[in-house]
Subunit: 289 residues, 2 copies
C-alpha cells in the first residue's frame, strides 16, 4: 500500500480551537463525551463593503476570504490584494485591494436602482464561466485510486470528529493541499484562496472533494482553472451539464476501485486494472456524516 | 418489521422533471447511463424585493419560498400571505403579503446607509431565537427506531438517484411530510413552508434530517417550533450550544439502534431495549452521498 507522500498543507486534527469535547448520552442513557467540530461565523469584507457571513470551522480565514471572493467573481485575477486583515475577536476578515473592485461599483449601482445586489451575484457567477474552456490534460486512473487511498488514510478532522467536508488539490497522484470545513464550499474556497495567494495554476491539477458534484462545485472548480473534479459522492444533472459546457472531467461515486465519469472522459487513461476485491468497506470512511 | 404508515406528503421518485438519465463511462471505460437528480435555480421574491436565488430540485417551489422566508426571519408568523406566484419559465416565485414586511423596511434602511442588507440577515436570524424556549415534550426511543426504519424503506429520490438530502416531519412514530432537495436547508425550508401553509404546530413533532446538525439546522428547527431534531449524521459544537440555548433535543449519529444525544436528553424515554444485532449495514443507506 502506498505511503502518504509529503504535502504542503494537511489537516491538523490536534490543532487548538478546531474541535471541542461535548458531553451527552448514548442510546442506553449512559453518559458519553464526544469530540465535536467547531463552527463559527466569519464576516468577510471587501474593502469597505460587508459581503457575507460564512459559517466556518475557523482555520485559514485569509484563504477562505480570498477564495470566496475569487470564486464569487467579486475579485478578479487582475486585482491586486494589498492586505488581508483577520480580527479573531470581531470574527471578521477584510480583504483590501489597491483600488475599488468592479464588484463594489456594480453593487453601488444595483443598490441605487432596486435595493440589493445579492440577486445579481448568481448572474455574475454564471457569466464568469461563459466561454471558459478548461485546458487539455491527462488523468491516469491509477492516480485516482492512489489519491483516494492516501486521502482516506491521512489524519484529518473527519476521522477524529466527523461532520466535516474535505477538499484536496492534487498534482498527479500527490495530494498538495487538504482543507476541511463544515461546508464543502468553504473547503474548496480555502483551496482557491491558497492557489491565489501562492499563484498556483490549476491547469495540471485534480480537485478531490468529499461533497456532491453540484453546479456550485463545478463552477468553483472551473473558475479555479482545475480541469478535473473527483468525488466519493454523486452528481446533479446541472453539475454534469456545466461540466460539459466548460470541458471539465467530472468523476463521482469513487468507491474502492469503482467510479463513474459523466463528463470529460477523453482525459482518462485506463492504466490500472480495477481489482475484483471489494475495497468498498475499507474506503467507505470519508464522507461528511 | 413495522410497515410504513400512510403519510401526507412523501417523495415521488417517478415524478417528471426531478431526475434525468445521463450517460457516461465507468471505471472500465464502459458506457453507462445513470439516473441523476435535477438542480435548477429558483429566485425567491418577497413582494417587490428580490431575495435570493436558491439551487433546488424544483418541486414544491411555493413551500420552499414560504419556508425560506419564514426561517430567515423575513416573514413573521403574523404576516398574512395573500398570494404566491410561481413562474416555471422565469424560475421565480413571488410571495405577496397584504402589506410591506418589516424586512423590506429594514432592507431599505440598511441599503441607504451601507450599501447592502445581506450582512444584517445573520444578525436577524440570531435575534429570532433570542429568548426562544421550545415546549416540553416526550420522545420514546422506540419511536426513533421505528422512524429510522420506515424512512430508510420509503421510496425516495435518494434510493433511486442519490446525491440528495431528506427532511421528514414526524408525529410520534409516524412520518407526516417527507421532503427531499439537493441542499438539506431547502428540504427543511419546504417542510417549514408546508407547516406555515397548513398551520401545523411544531410543538409535538420530531424533525428528522439526513444532514449534519449544524447551527443553521438547529436555528431552522427552533424557529419551526419543533423541539426534537434527529439525524443519521454528526454534530457541530455550535449546533449543540444553540440546542441547549433554545431547549432543543438534539440526536445524532442514528445508526441501527444506536444514537447520541448531545442536548435535551430529559425528553427521552428509553422504552426500547437496543438489540445487540448490528443493523448498521442495513440502515447505512440514507445519507446524501
Amino acid at each position: 500500500m502506498a505511503q502518504a507522500k509529503p504535502s504542503l498543507i494537511v489537516p491538523n486534527p490536534l490543532a487548538e480551537g478546531l474541535t471541542r469535547q461535548v458531553v451527552g448520552v448514548d442510546h442506553f442513557g449512559a453518559q458519553i463525551s464526544l469530540n465535536v467540530v467547531e463552527e463559527r461565523p466569519l464576516t468577510i469584507w471587501l474593502n469597505g463593503q460587508e459581503i457575507v457571513t460564512a459559517m466556518t470551522i475557523g482555520d485559514y480565514p485569509e484563504y477562505l476570504a480570498q477564495g470566496f471572493l475569487s470564486n464569487q467573481g467579486m475579485l478578479s485575477k487582475e486585482e491586486i490584494v494589498e492586505a488581508i486583515h483577520f480580527d479573531a475577536e470581531l470574527q471578521t476578515v477584510v480583504v483590501r485591494t489597491n483600488s475599488p473592485t468592479n464588484y463594489e461599483a456594480k453593487l453601488k449601482k444595483k443598490t441605487r436602482t432596486s435595493g440589493c445586489a445579492v440577486g445579481t451575484v448568481f448572474g455574475d457567477i454564471m457569466e464568469g464561466i461563459d466561454g471558459l474552456r478548461l485546458p487539455k490534460s491527462t488523468i491516469h486512473t491509477s492516480w485516482l485510486y492512489s489519491l483516494a487511498r492516501q486521502i482516506n488514510q491521512m489524519p484529518s478532522l473527519y476521522l477524529s470528529a466527523g461532520a466535516i467536508h474535505g477538499t484536496v488539490l492534487c498534482a498527479q497522484d500527490q495530494p498538495l493541499v487538504y482543507m476541511e470545513d463544515v461546508g464543502r464550499h468553504n473547503a474548496v474556497d480555502k483551496v482557491a484562496g491558497w492557489m491565489r495567494a501562492s499563484q498556483t495554476l490549476g491547469a495540471n491539477k485534480i480537485l478531490y472533494t468529499t461533497g456532491r458534484l453540484t453546479s456550485e462545485m463545478v463552477i468553483k472548480c472551473a473558475l479555479m482553472g482545475v480541469p478535473v473534479l473527483a468525488s466519493r459522492s454523486g452528481f446533479t444533472a446541472w453539475g454534469v451539464e456545466l461540466a460539459h459546457q466548460v470541458g471539465l472531467t467530472l468523476i463521482g461515486r469513487m468507491r474502492g476501485q469503482r467510479f463513474q465519469c459523466l463528463a470529460g472522459d477523453e482525459r482518462l487513461v485506463y492504466d490500472a486494472v480495477p481489482s475484483s476485491e471489494d475495497e468498498d468497506r475499507i474506503h467507505r470512511r470519508k464522507s461528511a456524516q
